[in-house]
Assembly symmetry: C2
Homo-oligomer: 334 residues x 2
């Protein structure tokens, strides 16, 4: 592999001149510049980011740690963060924590070892684990996105979860439903709690009673949601609508409804949080609350970039607004 030394020798200049040519930090005469570029071309020289990073004490890598890349919401987030990073000259090291806080911490150590200039994490743990993230003494800037509780000593970028649940619930209520069930995520997660509160608040505002028996607390995954919905569908009186607080649980719901031989929205109305890329491919189209995924991604990256550039201000919290996407899965009760 050719090095600067080789380029310098071939071009008949010093390595400092090669370096200056490449970085543009010092003036190099057009004549030498040309010779250097020709030598680079001829040797197929590519700079060595490790050497340069070592010397400069930083890298153009950022870490990105997500709980589960197959969840389309996270996939899209990764996608947007990656492309924003690329536009800004950064490469992304991807880590999948698999919803395991221990692995998450381990991956962040990896990022630090790789000298990542900073990292973005979508915390998978409960509030306790998140608090530990906040005490990241590593010196590597860290930004938490999506499921960051209040009070982390970090920049955080989150959805207004209460509002998201609120507009979903309000939409259901506006069709005249009164027995509305909810699928809640894992109780130790901040996101679940917020969405649950938003749901309750919306009911209360409309004067509709909340019944604990209609609240199913699961784990944000497909299977648990299916079982929960089967139980709901078997109960009497059956709820006429279900608010589903994330996308994976929506899949479980669809499975359960099909299995019970019922149909949406004739027998039961549903609205969920998290839009799907394929929400338009199913019949009926699913009414969902869309997160501003791209805006979350960009805000998170830009926060991180600011920290990398040396911003030392107080931790910021950016809260973004959801948007209701009305399709056909919510209708008036039978």
């Amino acid at each position: 592999m050719a090095t600067m030394k080789d380029v310098a020798r071939l071009a008949g200049v010093s390595i400092a001149t090669v370096s200056s040519t490449l970085s543009g930090r010092n003036f190099v005469s057009p004549e030498l510049k040309e010779r250097v570029l020709a030598a680079i071309e001829e040797l197929g020289y590519a700079p060595n980011a490790m050497a340069s990073g070592l010397k400069r004490g930083t890298s153009s890598l950022i870490g990105l740690v997500v709980p589960d890349i197959t969840n389309p919401f996270f996939t899209e987030l990764v996608h947007h963060i990656q492309s924003r990073a690329l536009e800004n000259g950064f490469n992304v090291i991807l880590g999948v924590s698999d919803n395991d806080a221990v692995r998450e911490a381990e991956l962040l150590r990896h990022m630090r070892t790789q000298q990542a200039a900073g990292s973005i994490v979508i915390p998978c743990g409960g509030e306790e684990d998140c608090r530990r993230l906040g005490q990241n003494g590593s010196g590597m800037p860290l930004v938490a996105a999506d499921s960051a509780p209040l009070g982390m000593k970090l920049d955080t970028v989150v959805l207004d979860n209460r509002k998201a649940a609120g507009i979903a619930t309000a939409h259901i209520l506006s069709h005249g439903h009164e027995r509305i069930a909810i699928l809640v995520g894992p109780s130790h997660r901040f996101v679940s709690h917020e969405r649950f509160l938003g749901f309750q608040a919306a009911l209360e505002q409309r004067g509709v009673a909340f019944s604990e028996s209609l609240a199913k607390r699961g784990n944000f995954q497909v299977d648990a949601a299916r079982e929960a919905v089967l139980a709901l569908l078997a109960s009497r009186p059956r709820p006429t609508a279900i608010f589903v607080s994330n996308n994976l649980m929506m899949i479980g719901l669809l499975q359960a409804v099909a299995q019970a031989g019922l149909s949406v929205p004739k027998d039961i109305s549903v609205v969920s949080i998290d839009d799907f890329p394929w929400a338009t491919g199913v019949t009926p189209g699913l009414t969902t609350v869309r997160q501003p995924v791209k805006a979350i991604a960009i805000s998170a990256f830009d926060c991180l970039a600011a920290r990398i550039a040396g911003d030392e201000g107080e931790p910021r919290r950016i809260v973004l607004d959801p948007e209701l996407v009305v399709r056909q899965s919510c209708a008036a009760p039978a």
Copy 2:
């Protein structure tokens, strides 16, 4: 950020001893080992992969370049490659080429600059672009997965695309269909071509005529597929079944069928290549040909790992078998 020097000073040993303790390459007495570990703990020392990589002339990074991370098939591939890599002590730099061969090449240059020990690429281009990948003179080992044409001078890991199309088509034929349409991907892509050939061969074997008017050539994307299917559904005599040669086109198909007020499989049967994580969430369940995603991922990584370890053998081609997953989207014609 603490360095080995700091650790050495605090432990009262040389940096060589610290290095030996960490790498285990030389024997260190238990006593010193303990002092070193204590110092590491106290200082919160983390090794600097750039320095070590620079010295050793290699890194524990691998590049992974995919055309489009939001396609669930690629998402899953990324997921499995990432976890296999992690198990083997590698971190993954993710690059999304966005189906652009220029960007793909650029990303591979990035990987090289970052001193990736090797890269896995899912080529997005046609045969011409792929051939260029084969002449990668960079010295960085490269493995192509999923859509690699024959004759690349690279290790390749691919699905048996002809067989995949064959078993899908045979399944359709076994229900008695005779007017079978096909949605083909972009014609310059090897994968499309192979799947098309598999389709034709299966028809021929059963003595069913192939009609060019029932072959719709698209771009593997949702929108084009929807339009193509709308045209097919409007044609008379209408085809009774459609073979869809990838997952995104399947979404387009579902949209078109809903838009035309028809239903699967009553009015039209469908079978597609690429299973979806949510294929079970739609009604009716989609009959698909599943790619052995995990096996592809593992093979690709293991090939790369062998090259990184110094394997200098001839380029290998690993061909893996598809599997038919029967659900409810294919029935007898009306």
